[in-house]
């Protein structure tokens, strides 16, 4: 295994950020990028695959439960899971034509969220809606993950979405189209990683993720840094 | 009046399969006769409307019931009311024989109608009704196909070698039935067959087809006494004499027929005295003698006159006139010299009574 590139399994929503991180890690030495192979998928899928012995060296999950579970089960990793990012929920309503309070009061269209059963952003969104965030709870359209929820709005089929800030930043959505609910109103979306092998490149990346420069990149991508909180 | 007049043109690619004028009499059976590959099946198919327009450009069919085919127009087969008995039967394989019949019965055209039971009886299908077509023998399938076409009450019935797979007994029975249907229901029919015997028992008109063209079209009687035709088609040559029943001789199992002033004895038939009877006289069954023979097994000697003589490759074909009707004899050149035959000369024709054939019920 140590021969080839390190295989990094990453939750799809973090893929773009991870690629930026790898670039930063490689720094002036572009060939180092070739030491990494990024495999993205849903956290559940990657988890099932790792359980079945998939040859991954590092797993960046979209939640903290599954890395914990892998660790608890034993046999997969002697390493502890570590948080690497904390998700930020954003309410995106591209066709907003009123101040946010009015929008929250009057919104009665379809709202896209990720599947709460599968995705931590979905679960968080679901809690937020139960608060309630809106005066009347809108019809919820569930995507498999935040990306699908994003696409529902993007294609014009849903009018709003409760998704991750990271996506909106990546898609360069103007700031006036989204609203960031207070982080106290929804559970923490801690994204944890777990090292699965001793592949040197994987170890390097794992260590890099905890460095301030990496955390800066992560923050710039729309996440909060779990380290800053500690 | 004719049932239809047509100009038929069928092409496969650039190859013409059919290119001929065609006319069908309103009454009676027209036999279509010609060698393998002449275009008989193709002709029936155009009439039935089964050949798509792009292959029949130039065809025109005007029937008694309206235009069937013209420059731009093609009347769908299901609208023509034409029944077709296929060379290969084409029974519907997923339903039983009885269901095949009711399928046709439910969709009857406006031609003469036969009842289910009659059809089943005529074609001896009683024990086969619950069978699926795959479980029929060749002859059984052919009978079922005929039955299906007839029960459909077509205005015109086309039959493509419908008796080819039948044994002699079944063939005879069905020919008799078809004859009855012809006279009782006045259903016009076109009959394709390679068996001249069948043709002559059933047909009123004969059309000969070769290389996609109708080369002759005539009443049967005209054809069978045409010496040129006979010369050409000696194997086919038979003639029909129209006679009347004089009376029966039951103890001898004979029936006496009259042909003008003369009488002919034939194996007993069921027709009533006075009824018309059609006698088949095959050229080969006629022998000529200068004077009647006293003690001979040949019962019938007809006084005739030589109407025409045609020599052909060592054989002489003699057209005989007898009471205003005609029939033929085929004798060797040697016999002709022996008898010193000349046109106009009286002569006696011997016909074996047993050789006579009539379409009604009869013994073999």
């Amino acid at each position: 295994q140590a021969e080839g590139p390190a295989r990094i399994a990453v939750a799809a929503n973090f893929k773009a950020t991870l690629e930026a991180l790898i670039e930063a890690l490689a720094g002036s030495e572009p060939t180092a990028i070739a030491h990494y192979q990024v495999v993205s998928g849903s956290t559940g899928l990657l988890f099932a695959q790792i359980s079945a012995g998939a040859p991954f060296d590092l797993f960046l999950a979209a939640d903290s439960a599954r890395p914990e579970q892998l660790h608890a089960r034993g046999g997969f990793s002697r390493h502890r899971p570590k948080a690497y990012a904390e998700g930020v929920l954003a309410l995106w309503i591209p066709a907003r034509d009123a101040p946010w309070p009015d929008v929250l009061a009057n919104f009665d269209d379809d709202l896209a969220i990720a599947n709460p059963a599968l995705a931590p952003y979905g679960a968080a969104a679901s809690e937020l809606l139960a608060l309630p965030l809106f005066q009347q709870v809108p019809r919820q359209i569930q995507g498999n993950n935040v990306n699908q929820a994003y696409q529902f709005v993007e294609t014009g089929n849903a009018q709003g979405a409760l998704i991750s800030l990271a996506q909106l930043l990546q898609a360069k959505v103007p700031r006036d189209q989204y609203y960031l609910p207070p982080k106290t109103q929804y559970p923490l979306i801690t994204q944890a990683r777990i090292l699965l092998s001793d592949h040197p490149a994987a170890r390097a990346l794992d260590q890099f993720l905890s460095t301030p420069s990496a955390q800066t990149i992560i923050q710039r991508a729309g996440y909060r840094s779990p380290l800053a909180l500690e | 009046m004719s049932f239809l007049t047509a100009v038929l043109a069928v092409k496969q690619g650039s190859k013409p399969l059919l290119d001929t004028a065609f006319e069908l009499e309103e009454r009676g059976v027209t036999a279509l006769f010609g060698p393998s590959g002449a275009g008989k099946t193709t002709l029936l198919k155009v009439l039935a409307g089964l050949i798509p327009k792009r292959h029949t450009l130039g065809s025109v069919i005007n029937s008694k019931h309206g235009v069937w085919e013209s420059e731009q127009f093609h009347l769908a087969p299901d609208k023509r009311g034409v029944g077709l008995v296929f060379q290969h039967q084409q029974l519907f394989p997923h339903i039983t024989v009885a269901e095949n019949l009711t399928y046709a019965q439910k969709r009857q055209h406006d031609g003469p109608k036969l009842s289910f039971d009659d059809v089943v009886t005529i074609f001896g299908l009683g024990s086969l009704l619950t069978r699926y077509p795959q479980a029929l023998s060749g002859g059984e399938a052919q009978r079922a196909a005929l039955a299906r076409a007839l029960i459909n009450a077509p205005r015109l019935l086309l039959m493509d070698e419908p008796l080819a797979a039948l044994d002699w007994a079944a063939r005879t029975e069905i020919l008799i039935a078809l004859n009855q249907i012809k006279s009782e229901l006045q259903l016009p029919m076109v009959y394709v067959s390679h068996q001249w015997d069948e043709v002559i028992q059933l047909a009123d008109h004969v059309q000969m087809i070769e290389h996609g063209q109708i080369i002759r079209s005539e009443p049967l009687a005209a054809l069978t006494t045409d010496i040129d035709f006979i010369t050409q088609e000696q194997r086919l040559a038979s003639a029909i004499l129209m006679t009347k029943v004089l009376g029966h001789l039951p103890q001898e199992r004979l029936t006496e027929l009259t042909l003008g002033d003369q009488s002919i004895l034939v194996p007993m038939i069921t027709a009533k005295p006075g009824a018309d009877v059609r006698l088949l006289i095959r050229m080969l069954d006629v022998s000529l003698v200068a004077e009647p023979v006293a003690r001979s097994s040949i019962l019938n000697t007809l006084a005739c006159r030589v109407a025409h003589i045609k020599d052909h490759e060592g054989v002489a074909l003699i057209l005989l006139a007898c009471e205003g009707q005609f029939f033929n004899a085929r004798i060797t050149g040697r016999s002709k010299r022996l008898l010193e035959l000349k046109v106009g000369q009286p002569i006696f024709a011997q016909i074996k009574a047993t050789a006579l054939n009539s379409p009604g019920p009869q013994d073999g």
Binding site: Q69, Q142 | F86, F92, H94
Partner: protein
């Protein structure tokens, strides 16, 4: 498991309607494709198989684009029916129809190509018009094809979830189908429920298919057994 029952209902309704609609509209289309001499068919047959080369989710995405009121089709639909297609059962149905079309049509083309033209000719001389022939000959004679096309369509629509998820939005009682539920259970490591649901689905399908096969059993002996 209550939820699952509702979901099962949606699934069966979706698969059933898809199969039914394809049977009604796909059958004549397949006939045309199988029998037409037109050069068009040479393009149409591959064209209709094309949805298959794209992953269902991707098709779902493109359908979502088409359904969007910003695009012509979605706008027109909204205009006519007053509701949007996305995230509705109708939209789901439309998506399933697009994706399942090849599974229905292709076996039917095979079946239709084999029907002897002479039998149809025979029926037409007997006075059976086009529709009559279609009902009384073409359909019964392609029973095997219908059975298999129907089975493929039904089972595949039951199992499909990529498109369904994308254009349905997983709304309980409306667009949440069994395949998504099953997928959820597996993804959330809820294996016991997953096994139960999978076993139920498989068992139900197996019984249904065997039953249908038995009902449609070949009683005419149109099989290799046929002696002529």
């Amino acid at each position: 498991m209550d939820q699952d029952l509702i979901t099962l209902g949606t699934s069966i309704r979706l698969a059933g309607l898809t199969t039914l609609i394809l049977a009604v509209f796909g059958t004549p289309l397949a006939w045309w494709l199988a029998r037409s001499q037109s050069a068009l068919t040479a393009i149409c047959i591959p064209l209709l198989a094309l949805p298959l080369v794209l992953p269902p989710t991707v098709i779902g995405f493109y359908l979502l684009l088409a359904f969007s009121p910003q695009h012509f089709f979605g706008a027109a639909w909204l205009n006519w029916f007053g509701t949007s297609l996305a995230f509705s059962f109708e939209g789901l149905l439309l998506g399933s129809l697009v994706y399942s079309l090849p599974f229905y049509i292709q076996p039917m083309i095979v079946a239709f190509k084999e029907i002897p033209a002479a039998l149809l000719d025979a029926a037409s001389t007997l006075g059976a018009g086009w529709f009559d022939r279609f009902l009384t000959l073409i359909l019964p004679l392609s029973k095997n094809g219908l059975l298999i096309a129907g089975t493929l369509t039904f089972t595949h629509t039951l199992g499909e979830f990529g498109i369904v998820l994308m254009i349905g939005g997983n709304i309980p009682g409306e667009t949440r189908v069994l395949s998504i539920a099953l997928f959820d259970y597996v993804e959330t490591l809820n294996y016991d429920k997953a096994h139960l649901l999978a076993a139920g689905l498989v068992g139900f399908s197996l019984v249904a298919m065997i039953l249908i096969q038995w009902i449609a059993k070949d009683r005419a002996g149109l099989n290799p057994e046929a002696r002529r």
